[in-house]
């Protein structure tokens, strides 16, 4: 795959450190508080081959989720695929590098930021990713640049008839006062089994603003583990929207550290869990500095025998006075066989703060259903309309119209998939 000469010493060193860490902790089990409700034994028990940088349907998968007018960066099985990428719309003020080539060529900023955004120790599977650090993409936005063209990262994973494991990696560094919108789509061939263990690191410079959309439409038999960590400097704005409808087991860890005064973050998400799916979202918001604000809204729809876990932690550090943090978690249960574990956590060490969280679990409002049916909608139409409105609160935050349309279509398709309607 590569010769040692091509891999710089710092990459080898970071890989080895992470490998030691992963060897020490191993695959997380439900004995760990953070994994209490999420059993990923099926991943540990499956044998996955190392993925090649290509498989037959890769090209058609990439084009199936294309967003017109965007810069497209394709990652196939963890490796940057220049051939499937489209850089024709690449605007000024932005630098793109494949990680492997970038590391070899000594791309500016790569060594400084890659693998340094968060402490790998806390996340065993992120350590696994780092230990296999090989390829992916890096995006650098020049200070002061306002980028209007959306950047669309498309990660496709799969093997030709073989269960594969991939460890894609993304690094985004936004210079001071820059502005950009980035979407990250995960997709695989329907029905294929694979293990996607992604890590994304985002550095938001002073006064910079990033909109980040995570779009998880993996194969329904896939295992999807993703870790997105962002550090936000003073007056920086980071807005994350996550949309999840695929995978057999999903585990999202999203961590945002507000590390400069006046930083602001939004962390929204919507997921649809049906069949026997497990959808786990762990969010962590670290208010490390004073005068920061955060808004978090996660919504879930559960059907069939699905299980969902939402764990939302907010930490307000000792000096983070004047923090304003709000977290809401809402879930709709459409089946008695579905289970939701909702665990909001507030840890507050400063006194002059405003922190609230709310969690609510319920079912579709029968009165609203009746109202819509009385106006001639079928029960299914009425339900879809209500579910669309429920998810809409999050989907409306997607500021790339072409992507939002795709997500809405995908959402309705997923609803028709096997969300059974009770009589």
């Amino acid at each position: 795959m590569e010769t040692l000469v091509q891999v710089p010493a710092w990459v080898r060193e970071r890989r080895e450190r992470a490998a030691r860490r992963f060897a020490a902790v191993g695959f997380p089990t439900t004995k760990l508080e953070d994994w209490r409700f999420t059993n990923i034994a099926p991943i540990a028990e499956t044998t996955f081959a190392d993925a090649e940088g290509w498989f037959a349907p890769a090209a058609s998968l990439v084009s199936s989720v294309g967003v017109a007018g965007s810069v497209r960066l394709a990652i196939v099985n963890g490796q940057f695929a220049a051939g499937l990428s489209d850089l024709s719309a690449l605007p000024k003020g932005i630098r793109i590098a494949g990680l492997r080539d970038g590391a070899r060529d000594g791309t500016d900023g790569l060594e400084q930021h890659l693998g340094t955004v968060f402490s790998i120790d806390a996340h065993p599977l992120a350590a696994l990713n780092t230990s296999r650090l090989d390829d992916g993409v890096a995006i650098f936005i020049t200070a002061g640049a306002g980028v209007d063209t959306p950047i669309h990262i498309v990660t496709v994973t799969g093997g030709d008839g073989q269960a594969v494991a991939a460890h894609p990696r993304v690094l985004v560094v936004a210079g001071a006062n820059s502005r950009v919108r980035i979407a990250h789509t995960f997709i695989g061939a329907p029905g294929s089994i694979y293990f996607n263990n992604a890590v994304s690191e985002v550095v938001v410079g002073e006064g910079a603003s990033i909109d980040y959309y995570t779009d998880q439409r993996e194969s329904e038999e896939a295992f999807h583990i993703a870790n997105l960590q962002a550090h936000v400097s003073a007056k920086g704005v980071f807005s994350s929207h996550a949309f999840s409808i695929g995978a057999r087991i999903q585990r999202h860890d999203i961590g945002i550290a507000l590390e400069g005064e006046g930083a602001d973050c939004t962390m929204n998400g919507v997921y649809l869990a049906d069949g026997a799916r497990l959808m786990d979202t762990h969010t962590a918001l670290d208010h490390a500095m004073p005068h920061c604000t955060s808004h978090e809204l996660y919504k879930g729809i559960l059907a069939g025998k699905a299980k969902a876990v939402f764990n939302g932690r907010i930490i307000v550090r000792i000096d983070a006075q004047k923090t304003d943090a709000k977290q809401t978690n809402r879930a709709l249960l459409l089946s008695d066989d579905a289970t939701i574990n909702s665990n909001p956590q507030l840890e507050i060490f400063a006194d002059d703060v405003k922190c609230t969280h709310g969690a609510a679990v319920g079912q579709l409002d029968e009165e609203a259903m009746f109202y819509l049916q009385a106006r001639g909608l079928t029960r299914i139409e009425a339900r879809d309309m209500l579910l669309h409105a429920f998810a809409g609160e999050v989907l409306d935050g997607v500021k790339i119209p072409a992507l939002r349309e795709q997500l809405e279509t995908a959402f309705f398709t997923a609803l028709a998939r096997d969300v059974e309607l009770k009589a």
Binding site: I318, Q321, T339, N343, I348, D351, D352, G362
Partner: protein, 481 residues
């Protein structure tokens, strides 16, 4: 007002001069814990064979368990082999008048507004005949006996009503439930037993009686309350009066059983020694409390005011098994100086139309750390279950912490579960408003804190609500600069 404040400050800053005094004891078991000690405890208490077996089973289970580490508190390791697990109840030195009582304790009594006669009782001063505890107790006892209510110490219950004890002990908190419950099951000293027969409404708050009667229940207390069909009872544990104790580790177990249409209201005021201003000393309070609403339409209410102990670890819980049963949890937890509290509740909904309410108020001052940890589980068959939870935290000062860890697990579509939490500090504007009207800052804070806790105090038996409110003020002494 200002003199009182000065006094309060002075008192708050004085160390408890007498430390943990231990009188010369007789009849103490050797230090350490093994099967022989468990047998010794059982034989000293003249227990039947089945109870000894049960203790031994618990002890063997305990040996295999590990001390829990998940709670959000830090404390020095406990040396389980360095403690003596049995001491015969001892006579306390009788005092001749209240003047001999530690002035700090007396001042606290006064501030709490505890009647003078009761003060004497609490501080073990000889009392006059009119208020003799024995006679009062006897009156109560005969009144209760008329109704068929059994209210006695656990040891007495084992002797007089072994069939009831055997039927219910460990039925709500099994001896394998957790580390501290297993330890308690192996070595429990004594405690209270209450049985309310079918259809009987207990005519008095069992608190009044308890305050006079139950002293020295010991380090490993065990309480069992059974309300038979249609019965109801209100029980108050503990006391607002400060309690000194030489035992650092307390591991109590409380079990409640409510049959069809029965109601149990269990109120706790805990004011054990919290340690000094620097965080040394203080009680470790590891308590397992759980009630089961066994029958339809039964109801269990937990109300707690936790102001003492250096470490508190307790989660009074309700298993809502009967249809239409109701569980309630109201809590005020205060941590000042270096106190740590990790407390909350579990509401386990199994029956149809079960309802639960959780109201938790945490107040952190000084370097206190206050954690709410609660679980709401809605089982697959719990149709139309309803839960409402509210957790509010109040922070006084910038070195303390408030933490909220609710766990919601829902397996039924018809469930309605809501959880809300907020954290805030006392508003400068509120204090300014009070001060501009001539109210001292300390009093203003007390007022605001009382308002914050009103929803919980409302649930306490009346006289305790009044005392609890004052207790809160005392616990927060010195928390404002």
């Amino acid at each position: 007002m200002s003199t009182t404040t000065e006094q309060i400050e002075k008192l708050a800053n004085t160390e408890y001069k007498y430390g943990f005094v231990t009188d010369v004891e007789q009849d103490i078991a050797p230090k350490g814990l093994n099967e022989d000690i468990v047998r010794l405890i059982s034989s000293k208490k003249g227990e039947p064979e089945w109870l000894l077996e049960w203790r031994l089973k618990a002890f063997r289970a305990w040996l295999k368990m590990e001390e829990p580490k998940w709670q959000n508190v830090q404390y020095a390791p406990i040396d389980y082999q360095g403690t003596s697990y049995y001491a015969a109840p001892k006579e306390k030195k009788k005092l001749n008048s209240l003047d001999e009582v530690d002035p700090e304790i007396r001042a606290t009594f006064d501030k709490l507004g505890i009647p003078i006669e009761e003060q004497k009782l609490l501080s073990n001063v000889a009392v006059d005949a009119v208020f003799d505890s024995v006679s009062v107790a006897t009156t109560f006892r005969s009144k209760l006996a008329e109704l068929g209510i059994i209210f006695c110490s656990f040891s007495e219950a084992v002797k007089d009503h072994p069939e009831l004890v055997q039927q219910y002990i460990g039925s709500v908190v099994p001896h394998t439930d957790n580390y501290f419950a297993a330890l308690n099951s192996a070595v429990f000293s004594d405690g209270s037993f209450v049985y309310i027969p079918r259809g009987v409404k207990c005519p008095m708050e069992l608190s009044t009686y308890f305050r006079i009667n139950a002293q020295n229940t010991g380090q490993f207390e065990r309480t069992l309350i059974v309300a038979d069909e249609g019965a109801s009872v209100s029980y108050l544990e503990g006391c607002t009066a400060p309690k000194r104790d030489e035992n650092q580790l307390h591991a109590a177990v409380v079990e409640l059983v409510a049959h069809t249409d029965a109601t149990i209201k269990y109120s706790t005021v805990q004011n054990w020694y919290p340690g000094d201003k620097h965080g040394t000393g203080g009680i470790y309070n590891f308590v397992t409390k759980r009630g089961i609403c066994k029958g339809d339409r039964s109801k269990i209410t937990w109300t707690q005011v936790e102001t003492g102990s250096s470490v508190t670890w307790k989660y009074p819980s309700c298993i809502l098994q009967g249809h239409d049963s109701v569980g309630e949890f109201y809590s005020v937890a205060v941590t000042n100086n270096f106190q740590q509290a990790d407390t909350g509740t579990k509401m386990i909904h199994l029956g149809r139309n079960t309802r639960s309410t959780i109201v938790s108020k945490g107040i952190s001052a000084g370097r206190g750390q206050n954690t709410y940890r609660g679980a709401v589980k809605i089982g697959k068959n719990a149709r139309n279950a309803r839960n409402y939870s509210q957790c509010d935290s109040l922070l006084i000062g910038d070195r303390c912490g408030a933490h909220t860890f609710p766990y919601l697990e829902i397996k039924n579509t018809t469930a309605k579960v809501e959880h809300e939490a907020s954290t805030s500090k006392i508003g400068e504007d509120q204090i300014f408003y009070c001060e501009s009207r001539g109210i001292a800052k300390e009093d203003a804070i007390n007022m605001i804190v009382s308002g914050f806790c009103k929803e919980v105090f409302r649930e306490l038996p009346m006289e305790f609500a009044v005392e609890a409110q004052k207790l809160l003020g005392i616990s927060l002494e010195g928390s404002v600069g």
